[in-house]
Amino acid sequence: MADQATLTRKDFQSDQDVRWCPGCGDYAILKAVQEVFPSLGIPREKFVVVSGIGCSSRFPYYMNSYGFHTIHGRAPAVATGLKTTRSDLEVWVVTGDGDALSIGGNHLIHALRRNVGLKVLLFNNRIYGLTKGQYSPTSEVGKRTSSSPYGSLDAPFNPLSLALGAGATFVARTVDIYQKHLIEVLHRAAQHRGTAFIEIYQNCNIFNDGAFSYMTDKSQRQEQGIYLQHGQPVIFGGEEKRGIRMKDMRCEVVTLGDGFSEEDCLVWDETNPAMAMLMAQMLPPDYPTPLGVLRAVDRPVFEEQVVAQIQAEIKSKGDGTLEELLHAGDVWTVD
């Protein structure tokens, strides 16, 4: 048992051998989470990592906290039951694009609409890894895989739009190998009350290697990524600065200096739902990829309301006794 003030990354490393493929993006995410947990000032025994099925869902076994490796797609539902009855716990859900958006899509959207106090880390590698490389609900149209030899016909989900549409109160995107950014986003999520939804672009170097290299290649990081900051103009680019402005209710990329200045650009506002939705729908190759916090707002939290309702009833009716329970309604006595 480690004192919470002195917790370190090591305290969250379990004794299990990590069995992801060498080079998998999951390692970087595990490292970041093990970095963030001890820094939050919360005792280790309060952390629970809940996962579904898939490569990412092995995550709890590698964390020396409480953990529950559940069944395919159902982690948000299991976590909802846990958090609703145990609001004292820090419940983190680890899931993947198949787990959260295919088989478990229903539970994800309902957790988001209820605003249960969960942190949902969606590792998006746009492929099924554990079942050996079939297309996933975030794979691009035309993707050739073992189950789509002539190209996938499915239009992909946009996880951020889906989360925003479901009423998420915290929506963010980051990338496995952007360790500093990833840790910043995890810290923001940890502070959020209600469901925090984080899409993490994660490279599967076996079945979908380079899925995000269009933006993660060193040369492209400034050109293809926008690092959103609340209250700051939406600007990106390397030597040549560019920005995003609103035109005809659409986002438009403009080059600064070329008749445009910072004043013409959108000023990022995490509380504006319309801006979040527009930003979520900026997709390559027409747009750079937005990263960071797209939405962060306060809304009543599910488990707090559940507890409040129970407390209010106890206050108004008194703590029920079994005698009262059994004798309620019309009773009669036989002598």
Binding site: M1, S14, Q16, P43, R44, E45, K46, V48, V50, I53, P60, Y61, M63, N64, S65, Y66, G67, F68, H69, T70, I71, R74, A77, V78, A79, T80, G81, L82, K83, T84, T85, R86, D88, L89, N106, H107, H110, V306, Q309, I310, E313, I314, S316, K317, G318, D319, G320, L322, E323, L325, L326, H327, A328, G329, D330, V331, W332, T333, V334, D335
Partner: protein, 620 residues
């Protein structure tokens, strides 16, 4: 109707009467039947009810699918079923007459609302001629009452429209039946006053209609020779309330929560006929109960599994189609060895089947409907009141053995009601339990040597951090394991844990001789009909024994001996012989199945006829 004696010049004393109220879904027949039931309960009758309603909330008015009925049997002695054939039928329209008349006993009392027997309604009920005038009802004591007209007239001065006045027809009918069976009106008066406290006009209208119905019989000559009385039954001393099976389940679950000291969590998705358990528990927040209406059946059970991991007494309620959806998550509880109570209020299947009709067809699903070797305890209540103690027993097995438990109720028990003697709180089982707290040499899968239950260590406890999950685990350490010998060991261990529960359940009791020619064995809701049939057979001098199984897995340890002691074993089931299949396989004993799969409970007569056939006794 069993006649005892004529009391005085106009009131005939009856021992036992079966009344069925039938009308359109919008006619308020369930309410009418419930009021008659509650009044009779307070008068001290033994009683048993059988509501029968369509799945459609309001099928088109006047049509056959829209008929809703409520049967109640009251008696001055201990009864076990809502009765085979009604002695009295109230038919509020032609459709209600058509769908129910075949059940009415020959010579029975038939009250019809003659105002509704117009051409339009007759056509809707597919009558080509009016049954009131074509002589087809000559075998019954027919009372044609202008119920619509009389109700409207009774409310004339209230300034209500016909639509509002017609809503009170059922109270007029109730008033008539109250008069006919010498019941006081005050119980229903008090109920109306409470129910419609903010709507004095509705209270007044219903009261006037009920009193008008009462007065109508009192002053109409035709009824003077049709007044009856059923006196109180000699029930054991105690305090009673009338209870249906789903309410009793809810009370049992709250009781188990209080007696164990564990907070109650219910994850549920609405489904007929289980929903009212959710409704009832949702009202018990001041008992610390958390109810969670999930997005689907799977989320409902998964949330319960999550709550169980967190240390709650976790329940999920459903019916057959929902149980099918929950099976993967139940297995998660099974392999992670977390306590969970799964309640299946069975209904007629397969698929959507007949949602409002009863069946016992999920036994094999409960026993075997999961992937892999996945034995779990299965238990079934035998009457509405028994649902209370079976719910407590299910919770006991779940938390003491760290297993998911399946409780099989059914639609008949869920909606049927009977007087229930309230237990004394101090007599209820003591289920106190503390979660594991000792961090010294902690291992998540270390077991209690007696029960084989693993440690229930809940998140938030310092020093007990551990991981569980659906992958096979090494015994003791709980680490993921693909070791062949460990898998064989864990498979055997999970079965052994369930088998050891048999050490804590009472042996099967045989009612009657402990061996002989014929044993009538049953499980679940057939108890009443079997008891009734066996009692009738014994009155005729037929030697027959009876036993009823509460625990279906594990089975009572003396069951094999009991079965071997009888030449013949008859097993009536509301399925095609599911328990019989299990018992044959387990004990190599031939079992005679009496099967009924009609969405309806057994009638005593059906079981009695089979007893006659097997014993060579003559009919009747």
């Amino acid at each position: 109707m069993t006649s005892s004696a004529v009391v005085h010049d106009s009131v005939e004393k009856l021992s036992d009467v079966v009344i069925r109220f039938a009308g359109d879904s919008g006619d308020g027949m369930q309410l009418t039947g419930t009021q008659f039931t509650n009044t009779s309960a307070v008068l001290g009758n033994d009683l048993s009810t059988l509501p029968d309603f369509p799945a459609e909330i309001r099928a088109p008015a006047g049509t056959l699918p829209g008929v809703s009925a409520f049967q109640v049997r009251i008696a001055d002695y201990d009864i076990h079923t809502p009765g085979d054939a009604p002695n009295v039928l109230v038919a509020m329209n032609p459709a209600a007459l058509k769908t129910n008349i075949a059940d009415l006993e020959v010579g029975g009392i038939l009250i019809v609302n003659s105002n509704e027997f117009n051409k339009r309604n007759l056509t809707k009920a597919y009558y080509t001629e009016n049954p009131l005038t074509n002589g087809s009802l000559e075998g019954y004591r027919l009372f044609e009452v202008e119920l619509t007209k009389l109700t409207r007239a009774a409310l004339d001065e209230m300034g209500l429209g016909n639509r509002d006045r017609d809503r009170c027809k059922n109270l007029f009918a109730l008033g008539m039946i109250y008069w006919m069976f010498s019941r006081p009106l005050d119980n229903t008066e008090a109920w109306l006053a409470k129910k419609f406290a903010s709507k004095p006009e509705i209270i007044e209208a219903n009261l006037r209609a009920m009193k008008a119905g009462w007065n109508y019989c009192d002053i109409t000559g035709a009824f003077q020779t049709s007044r009856y009385e059923v006196v109180a039954a000699p029930l054991p001393a105690g305090t009673y309330r009338n209870i249906n099976g789903n309410s009793a389940l809810a009370l049992g679950l709250v009781t188990a929560s209080r007696r164990s000291g564990l907070p109650l969590f219910l994850g549920s998705y609405p489904i007929t006929p289980a929903s009212s358990v959710l409704h009832e528990l949702a009202r018990y927040k001041h008992y610390g109960v958390t109810t969670f209406q999930a997005e689907d059946e799977i989320a409902a059970v998964c949330a319960a599994v999550g709550a169980s991991f967190g240390g709650s007494l976790a329940i999920t309620t459903t019916s057959g189609p929902g149980l099918a959806l929950k099976s993967e998550a139940i297995n998660l509880a099974l392999i992670t060895e977390l306590p969970l109570v799964v309640i299946d209020v069975q209904r007629a299947g397969p698929s959507t089947g007949m949602p409002t009709k009863t069946e016992q067809t999920d036994l094999l699903q409960a026993m075997f409907g999961r992937n892999g070797e996945s034995p779990m305890p299965v238990i079934a209540p035998s009457s509405p009141g028994d649902c209370f103690s079976v719910a407590i027993e299910a919770c006991r097995m779940a938390i003491q053995y760290m297993v998911p438990v399946l409780l099989l109720s059914d639609g008949y028990l869920a909606n049927g009601s009977e007087p229930w003697r309230l237990p004394e709180v101090e007599d209820l089982p003591d289920l106190r339990l503390e979660h594991h707290g000792d961090a010294e040499d902690f291992q998540p899968y270390r077991r209690n040597p007696e029960t084989l239950a693993r440690n229930w260590a809940v998140p938030g406890t310092p020093g007990l951090e551990h991981r569980i999950g659906g992958l096979e685990k090494q015994d003791v350490t709980g680490s993921v394991s693909y070791d062949p010998d460990n898998h064989q060991h864990m498979t055997r261990l999970r079965a052994e844990k369930v088998e050891r529960i048999a050490r804590t359940i009472p042996p099967l009791e045989v009612d009657g001789d402990s061996g002989g020619r014929l044993l009538v064995l049953g499980w679940g809701s057939t108890a009443g009909a079997i008891t009734g049939a066996v009692n009738l057979a014994r009155k005729e001098g037929v030697k027959v024994s009876r036993a009823h199984l509460r625990h279906l897995n594990p089975l009572p340890s003396n069951l094999g001996d009991v079965l071997a002691s009888f030449e013949q074993v008859l097993l009536p089931e509301i399925n095609t012989g599911q328990l019989a299949m299990i018992l044959r396989a387990r004990f190599l004993k031939d079992i005679i199945t009496l099967s009924k799969v009609q969405g309806k409970p057994f009638m005593r007569g059906e079981i009695l006829a089979k007893i006659h056939q097997l014993t060579g006794a003559s009919e009747g």
